[in-house]
């Protein structure tokens, strides 16, 4: 019963987010701030993880190729497929659920605890539009972060493959270009947009409707990470089934 109430309250929140808009000049300022807080500040961690995980994917693929008949270009091919289809959109989104998701929940939750949200409401401001809408817009730039992750993941694979002595540069690049299906990019970016929406709204919901004090802010952040991850993984399964298996 509580889960049904929570689902209902989530959709009612979404309805309110897209009504009674805040003044455009204020909203513009908030959107730039959120792009900085949520996207630009995540560049470092995303770049670091993408580069090294891409490298690990290439090494793992190379070490599991025991049959001499399998061409070395498979390392590049496997790296490209793993990074573009799953690692960049899904794995990075789970990391972002921890980094950005808990930041969103704790910042909105702290505003709730310290009556800052009440202050907005008393002034006649639609606090959900003011707080959540800029986050949704900022996270619509999330695919740019994923493009960087894809590029660095593949670059990491190339560096590990070539400088680790597992493959030649020509073979790796040939593998990268082999059997490329542009539709798979559409699939990757489609799910990136869905994950971005989940990343912006689920932690906001957790923070906005939390009750209690500082301890509850911490609890809400943890719950937010769990639910955001569960929803991302579930959405990933459903989208993959719908877009790739037909």
């Amino acid at each position: 019963m509580k889960y049904l109430q929570d689902i209902g309250s989530y959709f009612l929140m979404l309805k309110k987010v897209f009504s009674s808009f805040t003044k455009t000049s204020v909203l513009k300022h908030l959107i730039f701030k959120e792009i900085n807080d949520l996207m630009i500040s995540s560049l470092g961690i995303v770049a670091f993880i993408s580069f090294f995980v891409g490298g690990v994917v290439a090494i793992q693929t190379a070490l599991n190729m025991n049959n001499p008949l399998i061409p070395k270009s498979l390392i590049g091919f496997a790296t490209r497929q793993s990074v573009i289809l799953e690692f960049a959109p899904t794995f990075i989104s789970i990391i972002m659920a921890g980094k950005v998701g808990s930041f969103i929940t704790s910042s909105i939750g702290s505003m709730r605890v310290t009556e800052q949200i009440d202050a907005l409401e008393v002034m006649g401001i639609n606090s959900l539009n003011y707080l959540v809408f800029p986050k949704i817009v900022a996270l619509m730039f999330y695919p740019f972060l994923i493009v960087i992750s894809m590029f660095l993941g593949i670059l990491g694979g190339w560096v590990a493959g070539v400088y680790g002595g597992f493959s030649s540069s020509t073979a790796f690049i040939s593998g990268l270009q082999d059997s490329f299906i542009p539709y798979q990019l559409f699939y990757a970016f489609f799910k990136t947009f869905v994950f971005a929406f989940i990343l912006a709204t689920v932690p906001s919901w957790q923070g906005f409707y939390m009750k209690g004090g500082a301890l509850e802010v911490g609890r809400a952040s943890t719950t937010s990470f769990v639910w955001t991850s569960v929803l991302i993984i579930s959405a990933n399964y459903i989208i993959t089934q719908l877009l790739l298996s037909s």
Partner: protein, 254 residues
């Protein structure tokens, strides 16, 4: 003027407000007092629209808030200033941005004009050279004063204060009380202060409303509060050890 008529509010099975009816006068500091859990803050939050009463009406200048459409309610909220118990300043903004916030949201003034008004109200609450500081960098008393400045910057008609001097030392508490009263008279606004501090009652209680267990049990002025025989009032007033001792000394001296 704000009129409250038969307001009831419950949370679950528990009825917090049990039919409150009273009036708060323009140009006066109106105090809602009572012990913790008596329903003071709930009544305040019903008046400012954060809680919706199940029954009863709240009138702002003879117009019931319940009969206002969304646009009228939005306009009314622009006329309300609120001082929260903890200040409720926005952590991510500096003092200048905090005070300027209502002007940015509701007016089309140029930045220079807004800045001039911000400096004017900051001077009014005796704050200087704090414009670029963040709320975490100033003391609790200064935060309260910034909060007052933010509440009055857009020239409100109604000012609500929720325990404005809680957590402050006696001197600063008195300063904040006096500031609230001065601003009330200066801007000729309807001010409602929720408190359980007898010093505030003494200092600024031009009209005092006593709540007990969700019911209004007494109303009058701070002059009348020490003359009444109402048992609830005497129990509340003399629950303070200081006032008890003063009364004992006065009784001894005859």
């Amino acid at each position: 003027m704000i009129k409250v008529e038969d307001v009831h509010k419950s949370f679950g099975e528990e009825e917090i407000l049990k039919g409150i009816t009273t009036e708060f006068d323009k140009g006066k500091t109106n105090l809602i007092i009572g012990q913790s859990g008596s329903g003071k803050t709930v009544l305040l939050k019903c008046m400012i629209g954060l809680f919706k009463p199940e029954q009863g009406k709240i009138f702002y200048d003879d117009k019931a808030i319940q009969s206002m459409n969304d646009e009228e309610q939005r306009q009314l909220r622009e006329e309300i200033g609120m001082l929260f118990q903890g200040g409720a300043l926005f952590d991510s903004m500096n003092i200048e941005e905090n005070v300027m916030f209502p002007l940015r949201m509701f007016t089309k003034q140029k930045k220079e004009d807004m800045l001039a008004r911000v400096n004017e109200v900051l001077n009014r609450v005796d704050l200087e050279n704090v414009n670029k500081k963040f709320p975490a960098e100033i003391s609790g008393g200064m935060q309260k004063r910034v909060s007052i400045a933010r509440a009055i910057v857009n020239k409100p008609k109604f000012l609500f204060c929720d325990e404005p001097n809680s957590g402050l030392d006696p001197n600063t508490a008195t300063l904040i009380d006096n500031l609230i009263q001065e601003i009330t008279h200066e801007y000729d606004i309807t001010t409602i202060v929720v408190t359980h501090d007898m010093n505030s009652v003494m200092e600024i209680g031009e009209k005092v409303v006593l709540l007990k267990e969700g019911k209004l049990v007494w109303q009058g002025t701070n002059q009348e509060i020490f003359k009444t025989d109402n048992e609830d009032v005497t129990n509340f007033v003399y629950s303070s050890n200081l006032f008890k001792k003063i009364r004992d000394v006065q009784l001894k001296e005859g």
